[in-house]
Amino acid sequence: MPEAVQAAPATAAPAAEISYLEAITRALREEMERDERVLLLGEDIGIYGGAFDATDGLLERFGPARVLDMPLAEAAIVGASIGLAVEGLRPVAELQFADFVANGFDQLVNVAAKMHYRQRQAVPLVLRLPCGGGFSGGPFHSQNPEAWLMQAPGLKVVAPSTPADAYGLLTAAIRDPNPVVFMEHKRLYRAARGPLPEGGHVVEIGRARIARAGDDLTLVTYGAMVQLALDATAALDASIELIDVRSLVPLDLDTIATSVAKTSKVLVLTEATRSAGAGAEISALIAEHCFEQLDAPVRRLTAPDVPIPFSPPLERAVLPQAEDVAEACRGLLAY
C-alpha cells in the first residue's frame, strides 16, 4: 500500500476522541465479544493486522478460528462468507481495497445478493471495502465502486464519514440479516477523529444525517466528501445544509426531500465518477420527487469519467477539491 496513507498525520485531539480506523477496530472487537458467531476473514488480517491495521490485535484476542487469514482469492473469500452466513455465523470479510471487489463480484452480486429474493434464504455477511483516492494509489487502489454495488438488488451499501458513524454503521451491518457492503474511506482512517457515543452506539442503516443545518442550499454527499464539503463551505456567505446520506442502499430520500423543500437548491457531491453513479441516482430522485420545490437545476459535482490517475497533479485534477465545491455552491446560490 502507498506510504502516504499510513503517514497521514493524526491531528491533535481530546483524549475522548478516536479515529475512524479505531472506530472500525472497536466495532469489530466489541461485536466479536458480544456475539461469538462473528468471525473475520480476509487477506493479511491476522498476523499482519490488515493492510490498514483495521484488525490489529484481533488475532491475539480471538484466535485463528475467528480471525482467518485467507489465500489471495476474493471469489473464495466472498463465497466462503456466504456458506458461513447460511450456517448461522456472522462473517465480516475484508477485501484489501474496494477495487478488488471486481474479483469477488460474481459471488457478491449473483450468489449473495439474490439469495433471499430467490430462496427466502437470508445471507447475513459484511464486506468491508477500503475505498477512495487522494493518496496516489493509482487506478487500482483509489476507486469508489459503490455504483457497481447499488446496481445489485439485495445488497445494502453504507459509507460512513465519521468515527461515530463508522462504529455505529459497522455494528448495524454485522447485526443486519442481509449482505451489507461497508465502504470505508481510506483517507479518513487517521484524518477523521471524533467522539464515540457511549453505550452500544448503533446507527440505523437507511437514515441520513444532517451534518450541518442551513437554509439556502442543500449539499448532499457521503464518505470523505463530507468533511471536504464542511470545510469548503464554512467560509461562504450563505447558509448551507449539508446532508451526509451515510447509507446509499437504502437511501433516505425523506431527509433529502425535506431539506430541498426548505432550500430549493441542491448540489450532489461524490468522489466517485459521474455517469450512472450514486450522484446520478440521487439527482434523479430529487428531480422526480422535488421538482415543484426546485429553484435551480440539480447540480452534480463528481470525478469525471476517467480512471483515477496516479500522479498528484493529475489526481487532484480529477477528484473534487474544496475550491470546486465552493465554486459550485456559489454558482447555484447565484442562479
Binding site: A76, G79, G88, P153, P177
Partner: protein, 355 residues
Amino acid sequence: MKSSPTPVPAAASPAPEGLTLEDRTNLLRYMLLMRRIEERGLSLYRQGKVPGSFFDGRGQEAIPAGSAFALAPRDRLCITCRDLAAHLIRGVTPRRVFAQVMGLADGITAGKDGNVHFADPALGCVSMTSMLPDMMPVTCGLGLAAKTHAEDRVALTYHGDGATSNGTWHEAMNFAAVLRLPCIFILENNQFAYSTANDTQFRVHPLARAEAYGMTGVTVDGNDVEAVFAVTREAVERARAGEGPTLIGAETMRMHGHGAHDDMRYVPPELLERWAVRDPIALQTERLRALDVDVDALTAEVQAYVDAELALALQSRPPDPATALDGVFAELQPERLGDGNAPWSRYGGTVMGRA
C-alpha cells in the same frame, strides 16, 4: 481420462460395503424417479407449460443418486443442474419440482427462479446459480462453518467439465485444500459444456490437478451408481477424519442437449450410441434382476407416484404478480440450514414414493 465408455459386466461386480439389497434397489429407485420427473418435465416443456427452457441430466442419474445417498442428514449440499436425484434424496417432492419448472406459486422459489435453480435450505441445501462453478466457494464456506462450529458435517457440490476452466474453480480447489476443509467436489465430466468438447476445454484432465492442489483425486465410472456411492462414501470418511477435501471425477455422457432447446448437432451420433449401452439405469437394472429384484414393479411404482405428483402440481396457481417485488431484503434473522433426509439404511431416512 476416458472419452468413451468401457463396457463392464455390471452384474458381476460385488456390492459396495454398507449397501443392503434394499439400498441397491433404492439407488435404482432414485434414478428412476429423476428420469421419470425429467421425462414428464420435457413433455410439459413441449406442451408450452415450462417457461424458458428445460434442463435435465439424462444419462447422468447415477452421479447425484450415488453421491447424495452416501450422505448423512447433517451433511450439506449445493446441487447443480444435472443432479435432480440429489434433491429427491434430501426430500424435495416431485410436485414441488414440477411447480418449480412451470414457474408456479408452489415451486420451491415460488416463481422467482426457474428450472433446477433451487434448493430447500431446511434440507441442508444452498441453491445454485447459473454461473458454474459458483457453488464451490460457497461449499468451502459450508465446510469452514462445520470446522468453526466443531460439527461433524461434510459439504458436497457438483460441477461440470466446463466449470473447471473458470478461475473460481481454481480459487475454491486451492482454498479447500489449504484450509483442509471437509468438502467433496464432484466433477461430472459429461464430455460437453454446452457444445464445447473436452479437447477445447482443457489440456490436462482436471482430475490430474487434484494432487497439485494438495487434495485427493479419485476417478469413477459416473454411470455406475454403486461405484459413485462407494467413492463418495470414502471421500466422506476422509473428510470426517480431518483428511481434507476430495475431487471425484465422474466420467459420463450428457445424453440430451444442454437444454431442451439444444438439438446437439455437434455430438457425433456414434458417441451417443456408445454411451447408450452404458445407461446407468439399465446397468443397475441388470444388476438387480440378477438378484431377483422385481424391477418392473419398482418402475411401475415410481411412475405412478411421479404421475400423481404431477397431477397435484398442475393444480398450483401462477404466482401473484404483486409478489415480484417481495423479498429483495430479509427482514428477519435467518434460520440455519436444516438437516435433510438420508435414505441409506445406515441412517434410516424416508424412501421416496414407496407404495
